[in-house]
Symmetry: C4
Subunit: 123 residues, 4 copies
């Protein structure tokens, strides 16, 4: 299949609640960037986090292999630093191959989980 | 009415929980691709699924008749293979006529259902 | 303010649950097309509904006055016919002035409500 | 990082429930415009609110510093006037620098919160 998507994406919302209800890891409150690489070459992605009152963090580096999807939990990012909980952030993803990015949050602060999603902004 | 939309669409998020609460099929946890064909010719759509660690599955073939909408549950796909539950996936839809695609999940793993939706990515 | 937006919009998802929990009308299960007209001329909008297995319904006609927003509940459409409950549908909106369209559902079939939203598809 | 985004954005949905369940401010029912400025210059943003049956309110003025994100709660807007609760509204944001805008609502009218999000409309 031909490659599809764009190389620069932004997600202006970001917030990982420190509290969760229900069995981990499925029901742990989390935010995810779902990355899809439909092309024939691996996509090397650099992710940068933006905050309200400090300099950006990153780049975080992940690879989305050819013809694969990677659902990247922001909760799992460790290098160069973990993502702070209960803190507003935003993210930009720059890839060397076209990809498609969709953002989700599962929020289980209360007994019943809430979900939200959107295709990210690209240009 | 004139045809409207595009021929290539992608949904980077995909995950069908194996657990549900409430009466089937309405409240069964499910993901749906809502397809709209406003034109005067039937749209033949090929859907391909992408995964984290295996080759893509498909194509799955569906037809959206002229001037009709088809809300396709990923749960119902059987040929060439069912969609695995509790597994990250993504999807690409290629149509021979312009269509509009919107993605939804109803998640009823917990007692109260959660919903999310987004217009899919097109180019 | 200058006018902003587009003249043709589509929402591929549509489904009004017949069941609700909580005080009406706020917590009645409903779908809404939020229409924004930032311009200096009233926008006359024709809405057409598409179904799975019958011809489209409409046009429904609404006016969004200059510099106003109209949050149109599909539940309230009566002419030329009400929107059937528990039935898949989709919608197209055609305006004579640029507008912006956002889609929402509040689903209160279960005790706790669920929400979803997306900017509609435009071209 | 290069600047990213657009200068004119619209969110057609707007509604702040007057009721909430759970600890303030995190679980207070709220709507947010998440603004991301990836560029090297501060972004000065003017926000205008549109209503169903009165003239628009604003402009509200906020600054998103260079390389920062601002998650602006509509609940917190005070000048030139607060945002009425339980009232349909819509919003337009005009910036002197490119930004990315994402809209969210956390709705805690009932015991368990609901969430929704979408990238706003830009042109």
């Amino acid at each position: 299949m031909d490659s599809m998507g764009r190389r620069r994406w932004a997600i202006a919302e970001g917030y990982i609640p420190s509290q969760s209800t229900g069995p981990a890891p499925a029901m742990t409150s989390h935010e995810t960037a779902c990355l899809l690489n439909t092309g024939e070459r691996d996509a090397h992605v650099e992710l940068t986090l933006f905050f309200k009152d400090r300099e950006p963090a990153g780049p975080y580096r992940v690879t989305v292999p050819a013809r694969r999807t990677l659902h990247l939990r922001f909760n799992d990012l460790q290098e160069p630093e973990p993502v702070p909980r209960d803190t507003d952030y935003a993210s930009v993803l720059v890839s060397d191959e076209p990809i498609v990015v969709q953002h989700t949050r599962l929020d289980s602060r209360q007994a019943e989980n809430a979900l939200m999603t959107t295709i990210a902004f690209s240009e």
